[in-house]
Symmetry: C2
Subunit: 82 residues, 2 copies
């Protein structure tokens, strides 16, 4: 159930999935971690310019964390292949 995330879009999608699973709105999450709703929206949308701090705060706010591991060759590299 751990998701590899190599692109901003994959990360955004994972965050959104989790948020919805928790049944919380961008607004709620935003006020929880001191970020604007619009910022969360951009992040979930896969904005590559998002600041690391913003991402980490949001992750934490959703009860998630990053793990760094060696790149597994199996997954398609081309990303977002649809």
């Amino acid at each position: 159930m751990d998701q590899p995330a190599r692109t901003p879009r994959q990360i955004g999608a994972a965050l959104q999935r989790r948020r919805k699973l928790l049944g919380v709105s961008q607004e709620d999450l935003g006020s929880r971690v001191q970020l604007r709703q619009s910022t969360i929206s951009k992040l979930e949308g896969g904005d590559p310019g998002t600041k690391l701090s913003t991402l980490l705060d949001t992750l934490a706010g959703l009860g998630l964390e990053f793990v760094i591991r060696e790149r597994s060759k199996d997954q398609p590299d081309i990303e977002d292949l649809f």
Copy 2:
């Protein structure tokens, strides 16, 4: 061997460890992924303002990837506890 990374500093440290393990300089890595040596330096130093794209490019350049998982309670949250 997979490292949880909850803060910019932890991430920077992990990247640096990996880079040294590969025996490559910041300069080499930088030209490899189209980033300046100074940028890599800041990233490894734990700059929270680093752009997501910069981080992901660097990770890829080092043959690493992120995995998103549920926050494990065991690790100390206070971070960088030394």
